[in-house]
Structures are given as C-alpha cells and as structure tokens.
Symmetry: C2
Subunit: 192 residues, 2 copies
Amino acid sequence: MTIAAPDTRTRVLDVAERLVQTRGFNGFSYADISVEVGISKASLHYHFPTKAELVGCLVERYEHDFHLAVSRIDNSHDHALDRLKAYSEIYVRVLKADRMCLCGMLAADYTTLPDVIQKRVLKFFQFNEDWLTSALSRGRARKEITFAGKPSEAAHLLVSTLEGAMLLARAHKDIARFRLLAASLLKGLALK
Amino acid sequence: MTIAAPDTRTRVLDVAERLVQTRGFNGFSYADISVEVGISKASLHYHFPTKAELVGCLVERYEHDFHLAVSRIDNSHDHALDRLKAYSEIYVRVLKADRMCLCGMLAADYTTLPDVIQKRVLKFFQFNEDWLTSALSRGRARKEITFAGKPSEAAHLLVSTLEGAMLLARAHKDIARFRLLAASLLKGLALK
DNA sequence: GTCTATAGGCAGATAGAC
DNA sequence: GTCTATCTGCCTATAGAC
C-alpha cells in the first residue's frame, strides 16, 4: 500500500495544522504557510478564502482523524484498560511532535475565534467525553476497571487532566512526566 | 481600610492582564489597552517600552499575588483538605471572571513568547507544584488525607487537572462542572 | 506623563494576468 | 491554480512637542 503524494490543499492543511498546534490561532499568518508550502499568499486564498475557513477545515479534519483513531481502538482492544491506554497514547504522539492538541490550543484562543470554529471545538470535546464515558461505563460493567461516581464525570476528569498535562508538558519539554501522569491515572482505574 | 485609586501603571496592568487571560499573548494589542485605559498608545510605551516587558511585569505581579494567596491559605487553614479546597477556589475565582489562568494561557502561547517570559511561566508552575507537594506531603503525614505515590506526582496531577479543566470550563461556560470536578478531586484525597 | 504624528512592517484579503 | 501587484488596516515602536 503506497501513500499518494499529498495535493496542495492537503499540504496547506498540514502546515497550517502544525502552526496552530504550536503557535495558536493568532500566532501564525498566511505568510508563514506561504513560505513553508512554497506558493504565494494569494494562491492560499484560492484554496481557503479566509483564515476562518482554513482553520474550520482544520478542526473538521482533526475531529475526523480522531474518530478514525478511536474506532481503531474499539476494534483492536477489548479490555477497558487497554482502550484507555491506547487513547492516552494518541496524546503522547501529539506531544512527541512538540505540539499541543489542536482543540486544546483553540480552547485557549476561544474568545478570539469565529463562531463556527467555537462550535466545532466544543463538538470535539463532546465527542471525546462521550467516547470515554462509554468506554468507562462498559469497562466498569464488565468489572475490568473501577472508579467512583458517574462515568461522565470520570470522562470529564480524564479529558481535563490529559489536556492540562499536555499544556504543561510541552512548556516543560518533558514527555516522560506526561507519561508518568497518564500511567498513574490508569492505575487509579485498575482493579485493586 | 480604604483602597487608593490605582495609578495609571496599575490600570494598564489590570487591563492588560484581563486581555492576556481572555485573548492570549497574540490576541491583543496596545491599541486595545489604549481604548480601555483612555490614554494614547504612545503613553503606554512610556510605562512599558515593549510588549515583552509589559507581559513580563504581568507574570511577575500574577506570581506575587499567587504567593500572597497561598500564604494566606497557610495562615488561615490548618487541615490539608481545607487548604486544598481554598487553593482550588483561587481557580474558581478566575473562572468566574471569565478568564483563563494567566500562566495557563501563556503556556498555550509558549513557543511565541520572549525567552524571559517563558522562564517566568515555568517558575509559576514550579511554585504551584512545590506548594501543593508540601501541602500534600504534610497532610498525609498528619493522616488528614490519603493518596498513592509521591506527593510531587499528586501535585502534578492536581495542577494539570485544574488547568485543563479551566481551559474546558471557560469554553463551555460551565463553572458548575469545574466545581464538581474539583470537589471529586478532593474527595479522592479524603480518608476512606 | 501625555500627546500628535509617523515610521516601517505585517496582517488578511482582492484584482486581474497567465 | 498560481502568479504579481496592490489595498486597507493594524501592528509595535519612536520622535519630539507640551
């Protein structure tokens, strides 16, 4: 299976994604993308008329990729702890690329975002919490894991902690500490 | 005890602080401050020659205020759970003002910050984790709370979770959910 | 300390040729 | 699809008068 050379539109999205994840919505410009992709600013506007549309597409693609990643987890892992571990490894992969979660970053920039993007960012977090809620709920019913309180609250805790830890880990350039924290989070769910 | 009318410098810092906490380092300008404080952009440069210096002062003041807040906690609360609850209420107060933690916000903007500011942001988190580490350590020694593993790791978990939850709560405009999460975090530390 | 005026550059975005 | 050229407006910052 070969991977086709990415078209211009995709290359633009790839560069823009990295820029948002590292510098935030207000920390990059069309000029930055132009240099890296090797086409003029005007050409970028052909593909994405406005910055709002560009970043909107970015969030859409990111959420789509996340959907794929978690359904792969559903198909390849059965035990709740394995699923949650695989989930946390998505975050580790992002951190390894010296990036913040795209939507975590946009959550920081939230008040400066166009309406359309704000809604998509919220949808992303909702999707994550929903998936975690169901993974936690199923795992507890099967007696694979244990935790107190509602699954939805535990899911909220997991997303918050992973996003927050990511924010700090990137600044500290300390992925090891992030892994340690993720591991101890999972340990807290293991049967005693 | 009366509060003196704030001087211009202080009013500039107050406005700038709110702008950074709501819009991020790259999401506001001297023009924004100028309008709100009611003096010209040029006058702002008299007080703070560069944006880097302005935000540097902001972080310094924020950390100083945090120092004061936690030493008040040390003096007014003895039980570890009370101390930690009071600590989490600092975050709630920030959230109530529709703001993100100043340094949490700057952690997102991290790669775009001047060196001096990057270092101060890290120092802020270090201070928080150190204080929490000692509060947790003392509390466990006195058998006021319980938790597994090193105090420093539990401290890291607390800061990460509170910062991450704040990021999400502000976007969702849902302080109640933040409170719930903070409460269940503390509940996890309570003696069984 | 505060102002007006302005520099010099970059932002997002458009027009029109190829 | 991509280009050059350009627009308008905002950015940080400075000069110099009051």
